[in-house]
């Protein structure tokens, strides 16, 4: 039997029972619409929150650090082999720049220093990045300005919580110590940095240097304040504990201060000596598209570095939204299940009514598979028609929901709408409606196939 004839036959037998068909289809319409609208809400929520994250640019940044810089305990031999190749140098920056989908690469250099000002002092975490990149890090200044590039001197931008670290050299008085804020005006007062803290304490405690002479006072360097990050001393963000400065100036100063001595935070050779070069603490990598972050990340990992990004976090968040969607879809699915029961019921009734007709068809040589196919097609038609109408209804409902939510103005990023029906959802829901119809019609169709041809012979 030709497929076209089967379509025609099952279509016309549905048409014969119009009212019943329409009622059964109505169930599928409601079922499809409730699933699609529910999932569209989940998708819309996900899309809104993703676009919010994307505005922070946090989705496309990879932080590259040295292997084992967070996790120790590597095999010694392995560490040694890697030690010669894995420090983050300008060469590494250039290598990463060459990876596909990498948009921008810039190094970060962290070190420590002691800041002194008018009897107050504080250990500070100095973070060197290129002056141009400071703005890109999302730093917002409360006072002052960003240091200009190539200033020829070290200029500092203080995190808003740094001031709390300053304490009186003698009494220990300070914000984090006893709640009394140090009397230091970061913008106006002169602040001096000591980089070589070992030498400083050797001098303070009157220790002798390696060559036997008494330790000299290391140089104190006046560091001009360029700006302070906005926010109070209690407002934490990822930048608030750091003191930012230009990375090239920092490198220059460190070289001058330490000569051949080991700089705090820098790796050493296998023999425990300082390298000539200053290595970076981390390299920041900007990827052109969120979808390539993991790819780039694994390429960097393959180079022997440790790469981390928000990708995993974003993925787990996406996973969470998938659960929400599943839950919402499940709620919608209940009504489709009810519709499926309706289809099965309609098909069963139809088969009881048509016992004789099926018998006649069998006597006249209609293939059993064709008989089953006819009934499956009928059920599939119900699913399809219900799916199409249900989808149309969903688009309408989705538009209404978006309109209402827009007018409510809930403060979320609702430019894109809270209900969102992508093309794939439309197609999948159609296929699903047809599938549900056919699944509901499966057992009735088996029954039709197995009916005895003798039903045709018996006289009613």
């Amino acid at each position: 039997m030709k497929f076209r004839d089967m379509l025609r036959m099952s279509g016309s037998s549905l048409w014969k029972r119009k009212v019943r068909t329409i009622l059964t289809v109505l169930g599928v319409v409601i079922g499809t619409a409730s699933i699609v609208v529910m999932i569209s809400l989940g998708l819309g929520l996900k899309r809104a929150s993703m676009s919010e994250i994307e505005q922070y640019g946090g989705l496309t940044t990879i932080t590259v650090s040295e292997q084992g810089s967070y996790y120790g305990g590597y095999d010694d031999s392995e560490t040694e082999i890697q030690a010669s190749t894995e420090h983050l140098s300008d060469d590494v920056v250039e290598t990463i720049r060459g990876i596909e989908h990498v948009e921008d690469v810039y190094p970060v250099l962290d070190t420590e220093a002691l800041a002194l000002s008018g009897g107050y002092q504080s250990y500070i975490s100095l973070r060197g990045v290129s002056a141009e990149k400071m703005k890109d890090l999302g730093i917002k200044l409360g006072q002052g300005e960003f240091p200009e590039p190539n200033a020829g001197q070290l200029q500092a931008v203080y995190g808003n919580m740094v001031i709390g670290e300053f304490h009186n050299e003698k009494t220990g008085q300070g914000y984090w110590y006893n709640g009394e804020m140090a009397e230091v005006d970061l913008m106006a007062d002169t602040i001096m940095y000591v980089f070589d803290m070992d030498a400083y304490y050797n001098f303070l405690w009157g220790n002798t240097a390696e060559d036997g002479t008494s330790a000299p006072m290391p140089k104190k360097r006046i560091v001009k304040t360029a700006g302070v990050i906005e926010g109070s001393v209690e407002d934490y963000n990822s930048n608030s504990y750091y003191v930012f400065c230009d990375i090239d100036e920092l490198k220059r100063v460190l070289k001058k201060e330490f000569k051949n001595k080991i700089i705090p935070g820098q790796p050493t050779t296998a023999g425990g000596k300082a390298y000539k070069e200053i290595f970076y603490t981390a390299i920041m990598v900007e990827v052109d598209d969120m979808n390539y972050v993991q790819q780039v990340q694994s390429e960097i990992n393959a180079l022997g570095y440790q790469a981390s990004s928000n990708a995993e976090w974003v993925q787990s968040m996406q996973g969470q939204y998938n659960y929400i969607q599943l839950a919402l879809g499940g709620i919608g699915a209940v009504s489709l299940i009810v519709a499926a029961i309706g289809i099965a019921n309609t098909m069963m009734m139809s088969i009881y009514e048509r016992t004789k007709e099926i018998g006649i068809m069998k006597v006249l040589g209609c293939d059993m598979r064709n008989i089953q196919g006819l009934f499956l097609l009928e059920a599939g038609y119900i699913g399809f028609i219900g799916g199409v109408i249900g989808l149309g209804l969903s688009y309408g409902l989705s538009a209404i929901i978006n309109l209402v939510v827009k007018n409510l103005n809930l403060g979320m990023n609702m430019a894109v709408g809270i209900s969102y029906i992508p093309l794939w959802l439309a197609l999948v829901s159609l296929v699903f409606a047809v599938f549900v119809g056919m699944a509901a019609g499966f057992f009735p169709s088996l029954r039709a196939m197995q009916l005895s041809p003798l039903a045709a012979i018996r006289n009613e």
């Binding site: 039997m1 030709k2 006649i360 069998k362 040589g365 005895s452 045709a456």
Partner: protein
């Protein structure tokens, strides 16, 4: 039987059909054997409940025998599964029902063309064939009529056309005129006979009416599931 031109199309050997009704057994067919040649018109006659329909149904593969052998155009019916039986009917057998059994939603042409649809024939071709056969049974004016718009005789002629349209080797008919008045019955019988004679088709007809049976070449008289006599028909 000495005529070498004669070809056996139906051969039945030791056929039994036993129904179980609760504890008791009903021997609907109790050891039946016969052969039918190509082009023959055979009537199976007997009183109600004698087993005529049971025999015909088993010949057409609608029911399985309890025991025995049925060979039709060289193929054993008793070993076929239901799928194979359906296929066999589609290719070799036409069936005429007592109660016409036309599909009410279809007009005459569509009803006649239905078995061709099952064969997978294209629409234009099967409509053309159906029109030809409808003409043959004298219904060219009623092509578009639905069954409810036709008399019993006309409906049965559509039924005959539907059985003939696939050009089957064998046609089975169970009381084909059972629902018609006697005048119409005779007309329909004459029509059936005329057509199968022209095409040299084999017809096996069940009836309880001796007068209608007399149209046949041979008459199998059946009683309590056994053939009690085989007579030759009285008219030419």
């Amino acid at each position: 039987m000495s005529d070498t031109n004669k070809k056996t199309v139906i051969s039945v050997k030791d056929l039994y059909k036993i129904y179980r009704v609760g504890e008791s057994k009903v021997r609907a067919l109790n050891g039946v054997s016969f052969t039918i040649e190509k082009g023959e018109f055979c009537a199976i006659v007997g009183t109600s409940g004698s087993g005529k329909s049971t025999l015909l149904n088993m010949l057409a593969g609608l029911e399985k025998p309890t025991k025995g052998e049925i060979v039709i155009v060289g193929e054993h019916m008793e070993t076929k599964n239901e799928n194979q039986l359906v296929k066999f009917r589609r290719e070799h057998i036409g069936f005429i029902f007592q109660s016409f059994n036309l599909l009410a939603s279809m007009n005459a042409i569509e009803n006649v063309a239905m078995p061709l649809t099952f064969q997978g024939m294209a629409k234009e071709k099967r409509i053309k064939k159906a029109e030809e056969v409808l003409e043959l049974v004298g219904l060219s004016k009623h092509k578009k009529h639905k069954p409810t718009q036709m008399s019993g005789g006309q409906q049965q002629r559509v039924g005959i056309a539907r059985a003939l349209v696939v050009q089957p080797e064998i046609i089975f008919a169970d009381e084909p005129t059972g629902n018609l008045d006697s005048r119409t019955s005779a007309e329909v019988m004459a029509l059936i006979k005329k057509i199968i004679r022209e095409k040299n088709q084999t017809l096996v007809m069940v009836t309880h009416d001796d007068h209608l049976a007399s149209f046949a070449d041979r008459i199998f008289r059946i009683s309590d599931g056994k053939i009690i006599s085989i007579e030759n028909g009285t008219r030419e």
